[in-house]
């Protein structure tokens, strides 16, 4: 990705407040983003809300990079009404890592984290009600992981619940 450096007062504040935790601050097509260590993700998001008025979580989602050791990328898109601007906060971690929930910072994260768990199988620690939201509760597998082929259904579920041989 052909990124540019993101340098303004906000990125400066992030670097000075989180000297170790902010790994990079860049921008692509004028949209700034910062990458943090997974342990400090919650603290960075809470800091932006409390000290910089990023009081609205537009979206929280994940990207799967199965070839990398740190395969999951968690992306929070924050918006500030006061400054009318968006930033993205990202973090990368391996499958064994369980990130801390941010549903205590933004209530909107409750369902969004459930969706990420449903689709990617990322376990959020401290989430009040972490269970599947779109797929059935007894479905096996996580559809948006890259190793899942689009035709690759949970055939056992289909046979048990729908009484047909295959959904394909």
């Amino acid at each position: 990705m052909a990124t540019e450096a993101w340098e303004d007062s906000l990125s400066g504040h992030l670097h000075s407040k989180f000297v170790q935790a902010i790994l990079k601050t860049e921008s692509f097509r004028g949209q700034p983003f910062a990458e943090t260590t997974p342990d400090e993700f919650h603290a960075v998001v809470a800091f932006l809300r409390d000290d910089h008025a990023f009081d609205y979580l537009c979206d929280l989602t994940a990207v799967d990079h199965p070839k990398d050791e740190a395969r999951f990328e968690l992306v929070a898109i924050l918006y500030s009404f006061a400054h009318n601007r968006r930033v993205r906060i990202k973090t990368r971690f391996p499958e064994s890592f369980h990130p801390q929930t941010i549903s205590d910072v933004y209530l909107a994260a409750n369902w969004l984290e459930r969706e990420i768990f449903d689709m990617f199988g990322i376990q959020f620690t401290g989430h009040p009600n972490l269970k599947r939201i779109l797929m059935p509760d007894d479905w096996q597998g996580f559809p948006l992981r890259k190793e899942r082929n689009i035709l690759d259904m949970d055939q056992t579920w289909v046979q048990n619940h729908l009484g047909i041989e295959s959904g394909q």
Binding site: M1, C58, D59, L107, L134
Partner: protein
């Protein structure tokens, strides 16, 4: 008592299931069970080319397919660094506003029906039909229009487009006043909606609620003004707001929004520029590696697309930020303490489309 409502219930606007915990008529807790319409839209996106995926977005919020298409086209255009020509931008605005009116009309008709006001449904569908006819004359489809292409418009405008749109605008202004007379001061309507489903501005922010709901809570926030796209900054219009943050104010905001949409349409139809309808876009779309988040003000709130490209023919990750899904989450807060009958009113004024909630 635990009461199961839906998924096959006329007032849930599709296949939404609610598990209500009740104490008499009072709701103690509510849990939404969703996913019945899940089709894996984001997974499909990773398996199609950028152009092939465009028709799929129409099928999320099928009530406002034009807005879905506009958001997707803008997102991909942002990724490849292309801007639609001026003629296409203005025409996009007209279609998006017509679609906003159609979406609000269907919302008004169906949620009035939930509350026992059957007449409104027939009036609203009668007017919505006129909008759908304009869409049909333009592209042959009424709901899943696929009206835009990445880089511009699907088709050149049909000859009667301007006359049809002007006639609709003329007619609809009067009809809106009729709705006002029918509902706005109707004591039953006020009784059912006033003070029901209150969600304050701060709560809206924390829940991520957008669109008419946050404007009914007093926050004049509209992406068409806050971060203008597709030439919205050329038009003179207001952001309707109310202070009550309840279902009744959401109704008033949507009625006012339809008036503002007419204002935009009237201005836009006067200044459609001549010229090309498509920018130069490669036949085979292979965006350079990168990622963008682009969002628009859809009729239901902030509709965003987060697209990650790895330089191949297919999006590496295509995330849709669905306004209905995130707005619906706040039901679990708003319904607590309400009566069972109020839950119907609250679902109605959130304005959800399950095709978009479940994707």
């Amino acid at each position: 008592m635990v009461l199961n409502m839906g998924p096959q219930h006329p007032s849930t606007h599709g296949v939404l299931r609610l598990v209500l915990k009740l104490d008499g008529e009072r709701v103690k807790a509510v849990e939404c069970v969703i996913g019945y319409l899940h089709r894996g839209v984001e997974k499909i996106g990773e398996n199609r080319t950028y152009i092939q995926f465009a028709p799929y977005v129409d099928r999320m919020d099928y009530i406002s397919a034009v807005s879905n298409g506009l958001g997707y086209c803008l997102a991909v255009e942002g990724l490849i660094g292309v801007e639609a020509p001026p003629r296409a931008q203005i025409v996009r605005v007209i279609f998006a506003e017509l679609n906003r009116i159609a979406s609000h009309l269907l919302w008004l008709g169906t949620s009035a029906l939930d509350l026992g006001a059957m007449t409104a449904l027939f009036y609203c569908l009668r007017e919505r039909e006129e909008v759908l006819k304009i869409f049909e004359n333009y592209c042959g489809a009424r709901l899943t229009t696929h009206a835009f292409r990445i880089g511009g418009l699907q088709y050149e405008l049909h000859d009667t487009f301007e006359a049809e749109t002007r006639a609709f605008s003329e007619m609809f202004k009067k009809r809106l006043d009729e709705y006002d007379q029918l509902l706005t001061n109707n004591p039953i309507w006020i009784e059912r909606l006033k003070g029901v489903g209150v969600l304050t501005a701060d709560e809206c922010k924390s829940w991520g609620v957008s669109g008419p709901m946050i404007r009914a809570a007093g926050l004049a926030w509209d992406l068409r003004k806050a971060q203008p796209y597709s030439g919205y900054d050329q038009f003179d219009f207001d952001i309707p707001t109310r202070q009550g943050a309840d279902s009744y104010d959401r109704y008033l905001v949507r009625i006012d929004e339809m008036r503002q949409s007419l204002r935009i349409i009237d201005q836009a139809i006067e200044k459609i520029p001549t010229g090309a309808i498509m920018a130069k876009v490669p036949k085979v779309l292979k965006p350079a590696p990168g990622e963008v988040y682009v969002s628009i003000e859809a009729p239901k709130g902030e509709l965003g697309y987060y697209i990650v490209s790895d330089g191949s023919l297919h999006p590496y990750r295509l995330r849709v930020r669905p306004p209905s899904f995130i707005n619906l989450a706040s039901l679990e807060k708003m319904a607590v303490g309400a009566l069972v009958a109020d839950v119907v009113a609250i679902i109605g004024t959130i304005d959800i489309v399950l095709g978009e909630v479940d994707r």
